[in-house]
């Protein structure tokens, strides 16, 4: 599934937070959007989903397989969300409904899009729990979010995002709230599942090192503008922009970097 974002601008009143952003994600591609907090990267994913806060106003164009999403009525958008675009959010604790079981939430997209009956949903929840490697899926689906660890919760988030086999997966800082060791496991899961489903991926993060593990291409955002774009290898080896260089340095300092990044 291809995503084409053209001249996307997001405003809060007079304040421009995303400024004429243009990028595209070809079918099966994996694009990482990287930038510091406040650079507008999270708002970009929300704009694609049509879930911007009320006060934000988006102009420009967001097309999914050629179909314009910006300005689409909420009901039409709801049919696209979860079915054609899956989304994983930052904080796995607050992103899950504390009053619903894991199984309920895993299979919810299937129920919402009429892809499974109540009975089938139960089996699907089990399948998804196993798919994202939740320990003891039989029990896990009956648990509530607070009974899971942070990494397990994010596995639930990923399972729910992929439940209806969307062609595009949006991930907004999905590993930021996790411990470093858990991060690595969840990133591996991402890598494997995206490869298996063949979905296109947009992965938003502030951490180039994380991005390098799952993405092939990078878009660097600063103050709502795209300052640099290219393949991961090229950017790590020869950052052109100051912001990129700083992000590369930060990634090197805090964690591992791929061998080719070290010259």
């Amino acid at each position: 599934m291809t995503l084409d974002v053209t001249e996307l601008t997001i405003r809060f009143g007079d304040r421009v937070v995303v400024d004429r952003l243009t990028f595209s994600v070809p079918d099966g591609a994996r694009l990482g959007i990287v930038g510091e907090s406040g650079s507008g990267k999270s708002l970009t994913t929300l704009a694609v989903l049509g879930l911007l806060p009320d006060r934000a106003e988006a102009t420009g164009s967001v097309r999914l397989d050629g179909e314009e999403l910006l300005g689409l009525p909420e009901r039409r958008l709801a049919r696209i969300r979860g079915r054609r675009i899956g989304a994983v959010f930052q904080d796995p604790l607050t992103s899950l409904d504390p009053l619903r079981t894991v199984g309920d939430q895993l299979a919810e997209p299937l129920r919402l899009h009429g892809l499974a009956s109540r009975r089938e949903a139960r089996a699907e929840a089990l399948r998804l729990a196993a798919l994202v490697r939740l320990p003891e899926p039989e029990q896990a689906v009956r648990l509530y979010p607070h009974q899971l660890s942070g990494g397990q919760r994010q596995r639930v988030g990923i399972g729910a995002a992929l439940a209806a086999s969307p062609g595009l997966l949006l991930a907004d800082e999905p590993t930021t709230a996790l411990d470093v060791t858990i991060q690595a496991e969840v990133l591996d899961l991402f890598d494997r599942l995206v490869a298996e489903t063949g979905a296109s991926l947009v992965f938003v993060t502030h951490d180039l090192a994380v991005l390098a593990r799952v993405c092939t291409d990078v878009l660097v955002l600063a103050d709502g503008r795209a300052v640099e774009t290219g393949s991961v290898e090229r950017l790590l080896a020869a950052p052109q922009h100051l912001v990129t260089a700083a992000l590369v340095a930060a990634a090197r300092a805090t964690s591992w970097t791929p061998a080719e990044g070290e010259a």
Binding site: S42, L43, P53
Partner: protein, 284 residues
């Protein structure tokens, strides 16, 4: 706590309205001590139940008293009850909260239970209970609101006091040898002030409503004190006959309580850094 929150407060329509009404109320109360349009207690058997006229813009009651003058004079009772009640509530609330948050460890649990039980005593029930032994008076209203709402203040501010007491600068002050009482007065209370002031505004609103309710039940101000609550009570018996008269004291109470509530709400928004911050940062 400086001029910035005042500007924030007055920038909000609710805050500006609340502040304006409260200033007006205090002015009326002060003026009424030396001047009222007419004698609020003067009866006039020939002009009973007058509708609005030039001489009596709000009309007259069943004894021919000028309702405008009476309502005007009633502001001083309202202001007095509101201010005193808030003061008593503040003392009760702060003492209970400070003891509950910072006092001897043995005391904290029993205090928490006591506060939970006292919450079940609404202001009006406390007032009725006190009236049974002390007789009706404004003092009963003040004490009842002070205790009844003071407990609420204690519950709300206990957590806040505990939070402030654990901050770095308070721990540093204590480590430097500052005693518990000085720590409370010098560091903890100033930093919990925003929460407290909001609660005081709300307790004033509760006091005005309680005075109205108690005067209606016959336990409020003595007849020699002009009171909106009692006027409302005097007039409501004839509401179906002279519906226009009863509007005035009811409106006066409503607008005053509304002003205290709006003032408190606006103050909370203006002084709560979390609210101010979260509004601009939530989406990033």
């Amino acid at each position: 706590m400086s001029a910035t929150w005042l500007r924030e407060l007055l920038r909000r329509p609710a805050g500006a309205f609340g502040a304006a009404v409260l200033v007006l109320l205090v002015l009326c109360a002060l003026v009424s001590l030396v001047w009222t349009p007419q004698d609020p207690f003067a009866t006039d058997p020939f002009h009973r139940w007058q509708g609005p006229t030039a001489a009596h813009p709000f009309g007259t009651d069943g004894t021919g008293r000028d309702i405008l003058s009476y309502v005007f004079a009633g502001t001083r009772t309202t202001v007095l009850v509101a201010v005193l009640s808030a003061a008593v509530a503040a003392v009760v609330g702060v003492v209970l909260a400070a003891l509950g948050a910072l006092g001897p460890r043995r005391l904290r649990e029993p205090l928490a239970v006591l506060i939970d039980v006292l919450i079940a005593f609404p202001v009006l029930l406390i007032a009725i209970m006190l009236s049974a032994v002390l007789g009706p008076s404004l003092g009963v209203v003040v004490i009842a609101t002070g205790i009844g709402f003071g407990v609420n203040i204690a519950r709300v501010s206990r957590g806040e006091i505990r939070r402030v007491a654990r901050t770095g600068y308070v721990l540093a002050a204590r480590a430097a040898g500052l005693g518990p009482v000085r720590t409370l007065t010098d560091h903890v209370l100033p930093n919990t002030a925003p929460v407290l002031i909001v609660q005081l505004s709300l307790s004033a609103a509760v006091a005005v409503l309680a005075e109205a309710g108690l005067s209606f039940l016959g336990y409020g101000a003595p007849p020699s004190t002009p009171s909106w609550g009692r006027l409302l009570n005097d007039l409501q018996d004839y509401v179906t006959l002279y519906p226009l008269t009863v509007i005035w004291p009811g409106l006066a109470i409503t607008v005053t309580v509304l002003a205290f509530n709006l003032f408190g709400d606006a103050l909370r928004e203006a002084t709560d850094p979390r609210l101010v911050r979260s509004r601009s940062e939530r989406t990033r």
